[in-house]
Symmetry: C2
Subunit: 122 residues, 2 copies
Amino acid sequence: MTDDEDRADAWFHALSDRTRRDILRRVLAGEHSVSALARSYDMSFAAVQKHVAVLERAGLLTKRRQGREALASGDVEAVRSVGAMLTDLEALWRGRISRMDELFAEQTRQQQDQHPTRHDRP
Amino acid sequence: MTDDEDRADAWFHALSDRTRRDILRRVLAGEHSVSALARSYDMSFAAVQKHVAVLERAGLLTKRRQGREALASGDVEAVRSVGAMLTDLEALWRGRISRMDELFAEQTRQQQDQHPTRHDRP
DNA sequence: ACAACGTACAACCATTTAGTTGTACGTTGG
DNA sequence: CCAACGTACAACTAAATGGTTGTACGTTGT
């Protein structure tokens, strides 16, 4: 269905707004109703509700209904998945370093072949 | 000057586009000129150049000039900083779990005070 | 019963974004 | 020398974004 890249788009876009990051912090620390969250910010209820919806669509939080309230709760697994993507990026960088090391070793070896030291070949 | 939250905004916004994530993968794996990168995508040179600029402003890559080429290179430290933010989010969640554990222990203790077992008080 | 509360969603507006084309300018190879 | 290359940036367009207000509807406490 939704591609990995689509999910990543949604994750990073959801995290790219400071209000949404703050909401996510709160709901990771504990359940909060949408209106309780809304009271924390200097903007309309509807605006906060939209931010919650963005986080929900990205899978970073889930809502459950209790009476008239919608209780939002952060999904730590999704947060970990985002972290894993970054770890994968780091791995690419490590590969680059390894290749540089190999290249260096290769150059060193060739230089030694061309200019053997007295010590190596007495 | 630029707040932590501003940096985070820039980081996550830069990462919220799949083309930019792909560019970042390439330049983490090794240096690439902007036009070499541009050849990889089905869009104009100017579009790719703008994506590179977004990544650069976010501090996720750096450019160095060599002759007429601008060589872009990924900054793994910035990637790690983004990862650290997510780890901090996870920590909030862990705090929530600890608090739930404490609450449970508290409730259990009170229940034992109210209904001591024969075994506890023979 | 009913007023207040919590939620959802539509419609609208200003700004930003991702793309385009065009232009200008330094660098380089033949 | 100069044509081709690589880069940068401005100006424009369509779409997405973050905010607003207004409306509707189920839930709750008195």
